[in-house]
Subunit: 384 residues, 2 copies
Amino acid sequence: MASVTTPKGFTASAVAAGIKPSGNPDMALVVNNGPQWASAAVFTQNRVFAAPVKVTREAVAHGTLKAVVYNAGNANACTGAPGVNDAREMQQLVADAIEVHKQEVGVCSTGLIGEPLPMSNIRSGIASLTSNLGDYGEDAAEAIMTTDTVKKEASYQADGWTVAAMGKGVGMMAPSLATMLVLITTDAVVSSETLDRALKNATPSTFDAIDIDGSTSTNDTVIALASGASGIEPDATEFKEAIYSVCKDIAEQMQADAEGVTKRVTVRVTGTTSDVQARNAARTVARDNLFKCAMFGSDPNWGRVLAAVGMADADMDAENIAVSFNGHAVCKESTAVPGARDVDLSGVEIEVHIDLGTGGPGDAHVRTTDLSHDYVEINSAYSS
Amino acid sequence: MASVTTPKGFTASAVAAGIKPSGNPDMALVVNNGPQWASAAVFTQNRVFAAPVKVTREAVAHGTLKAVVYNAGNANACTGAPGVNDAREMQQLVADAIEVHKQEVGVCSTGLIGEPLPMSNIRSGIASLTSNLGDYGEDAAEAIMTTDTVKKEASYQADGWTVAAMGKGVGMMAPSLATMLVLITTDAVVSSETLDRALKNATPSTFDAIDIDGSTSTNDTVIALASGASGIEPDATEFKEAIYSVCKDIAEQMQADAEGVTKRVTVRVTGTTSDVQARNAARTVARDNLFKCAMFGSDPNWGRVLAAVGMADADMDAENIAVSFNGHAVCKESTAVPGARDVDLSGVEIEVHIDLGTGGPGDAHVRTTDLSHDYVEINSAYSS
């Protein structure tokens, strides 16, 4: 299986540094060995963001990332000035060991919020990571897992160049388990600007379109690194498609592995003025607990869809809304279609299509899950 | 116990019309017999609103309500033009029988969305209701229940005049079980304007400040009727206080009876620019599923509070947020207070106080509940 070290020019390492109580691997390092260096990143929108987000944002503003160091088991979030110092020390230790500038090192942490990083474990972990770099992308993908049940990797093989990605996250987002972290590597010859455009083209309809519990983490970070080691400058359209494809793949793996999920639900909205409004409306429905409970119960309860969407910030003709489940019309002109309650939703995949009836061109979807007993169980017992 | 027929000038009736599958009473009528008639009402903000809301809104716009007819078991929502005709027929049948204009009759329905009203049951129910009016306020309160486990009544006894209320609702709001319905009666001598001001003064911090699942029903209606039968014109301040008091009482009963509740949680936010911002922030936290699951687990997980509030539309100093649970400080300057994880939240009542650290005067609270296994169970099984 392809990993983040499949594209030429990248090495990685992983280690069990003793941060996770389980003793499983919990630190990783990915290094871009060039010959070229381009990078791009997107971060959480949350105003309460973790120390590593602050430090990595500064690094990205300063220039180009050449390496990213990860730890799982502790988010280094809500840890004040000492937390920022800890993140800076991680950055400096890696920079010194691999001989780059500290502003060329990104730092990502994931795990519990509000606990100080165990710095002695971190220091010995970084010593091990920097002295064991190699073709260990798969180990890196495993080390960044928290409550993920499977590691998440994706790749796109083009003619002579490759894009690969690893991610972790079991909900978009589970703040106390912070976080959604994604790293994309490519050996294509691209500028940071091209990489940034491709990344920002992909995220709105992939990572930003997953909404498991309406929560947004303090640590979410997506980083893309390009080494140019293939020597091939890709076709711009295909490159955008390649980045989109690995983002979509990782996003779908996150949805499938979301906490307590028994259903994978896609909410698509059309018939409103703009894509932004369509996404607002889809997100409003995707976050509605009564709708999510109905999905858990395999219940084609279109009344809950209408009640939820009626509160959305989107243009609609409230008397001309249509709803279908898995292609079966259950509601037209905001009233029941005969047989609506008999639609079979017992399968794992549910597609809900809501047309808001204005005839406008807005079209967007959001991926979510049901609200299950296991979701409640996992999220009420985690830190206690 | 006081009921909506305790204030002088009101009669009521209730009947089992066969709309609820249980065979329990499911229709009610409350009539203001004067000698004066004043009324006020507030309705759901949902753009998808039920036929009875449309019809009652029109009646209120036209003049003064003298009676309100209720049915439970069927919300008459998302029923199109036939549903509006059905609601108008309910209005007309009551008006003819008690000899008032149809625009003087309010109509409220609660129950399943998207099913046509069983009009033959409704017609015989109204015949019974209009011929059995008397001191049956308590029966009316029982007839409007859906998944409520107890009927909800409140009263305020002043010197010579009285305010009373009945309500139903087990979540603010549970759309498929639509709805929150409240009726307030008083024999005070007040104008519709005074009644309207008092009602609109009370609702923002009572009914609008309950947020069980972030959902807003298609049918929510609060109506106040004044008969003037006491002959006493109340002190304006005391009257406002009386209306506020019965609204607060009913709202607390709804919170306590919310679906699957094991915790009653009050989220208070201070230290932001305005009360509106404070309420936005409180509501954002109150709706966060990870926070609600933590409450179910009696887990003082302040990290989830910070992660949730960081996404709120409110001014904050993200490095100066303070959180306390039941008066115990757990987070200061956005970092942990020693011992924070040991705070005991095993009781039923939990008060969360979040100060957003700007020093601004904004102050508001929202009442919510935990997210429990029973919530998922009740809401995944209801209509199937």
